[in-house]
Symmetry: C2
Subunit: 150 residues, 2 copies
DNA sequence: ATCGCTGCAAAGGTTTTGCAACGAG
DNA sequence: CTCGTTGCAAAACCTTTGCAGCGAT
């Protein structure tokens, strides 16, 4: 955790950015709550108790900054809310329509199959940067968590 | 095209909805501009010259209606804008980062592979309703269209 | 004629912006 | 000390809503 803060500091320095309290806190929170793909508002509420003077505008600016320097990404939604993800490992998302969750889905075998498919396919005039499989569905039992085994 | 308007009329009737001028025009435009996955604003601008009295609020309400009765879907974006798609055939999307386009990508073989994969996989407590492959990339030559051959 | 739908304008919610004060390097 | 960053509040956006009047059935 001290190590993680050090890591954050380095990443920001590499991008030529100051390691301010606010950035440290926001990025740390984003890492902590990564699995829920929070909105700016979510992070604000999470951070405010221990940082009462932080402003929502700063959260937005910081998230933009993190995305710009490759420490986070925006998550595609059809909901109108912007959600953020600090998990930069190659992974896919399960979208639960009934619970509105977005669940990480790591699956190297799937990624391999899909990537191989597109290498064979070769779409002209397109340089593919990344492929993302969006699994839409519903939790059958909304009380029970979805647990993924590779 | 007359046939298409008839089809629209039937679909609306089936859903217990009145076939108003506005709905006909909006849906017709959405079908015509399907390939560009327009925003509500896009449709408004497209429609206004020939329907000066139509309001943007009506466009939004109509798009909601079309989505609710299964004639259109919302397209996932990481941009904050809501985009709509009247193409209800099973298909995927190519997201061009440099041109901001969303291009339809039909590929039955890919769909087959992915679907078979998840049938084998069976994620516990999840009922999959649909799987969507998002191909992110850049046009190499922004002047030249991307043309897909199956 | 009825009741659902439209147009308008106002409100709502999220995200961005401008600028003086602040603080990390 | 300097210049990038923050906090605040206002503005800019996109989308939704309320309601009187209109029009499809």
């Amino acid at each position: 955790m001290r190590q993680q803060l050090q890591h954050i500091r380095e990443q920001l320095a590499n991008a030529g950015l100051k390691a301010t309290q606010q950035r440290m806190v926001v990025y740390h929170t984003l890492l902590e709550t990564m699995h829920m793909h929070p909105t700016a508002e979510n992070i604000y509420e999470h951070v405010k108790p221990e940082n009462p003077s932080i402003s929502l505008g700063t959260i937005y600016k910081t998230l933009d900054t993190l995305v710009a320097c490759g420490l986070a990404t925006r998550v595609s939604t059809a909901s109108g809310y912007m959600r953020y993800d600090a998990n930069m490992d190659r992974h896919n998302h399960i979208y639960c329509a009934n619970t509105r969750e977005i669940i990480d889905y790591h699956d190297a075998a799937l990624d391999e199959i899909v990537q191989a498919y597109f290498e064979r396919k070769n779409i002209p005039n397109l340089k593919i940067t990344n492929i993302h499989v969006q699994i839409n569905g519903d939790r059958i039992d909304p009380e029970q968590r979805i647990h993924i085994q590779e």
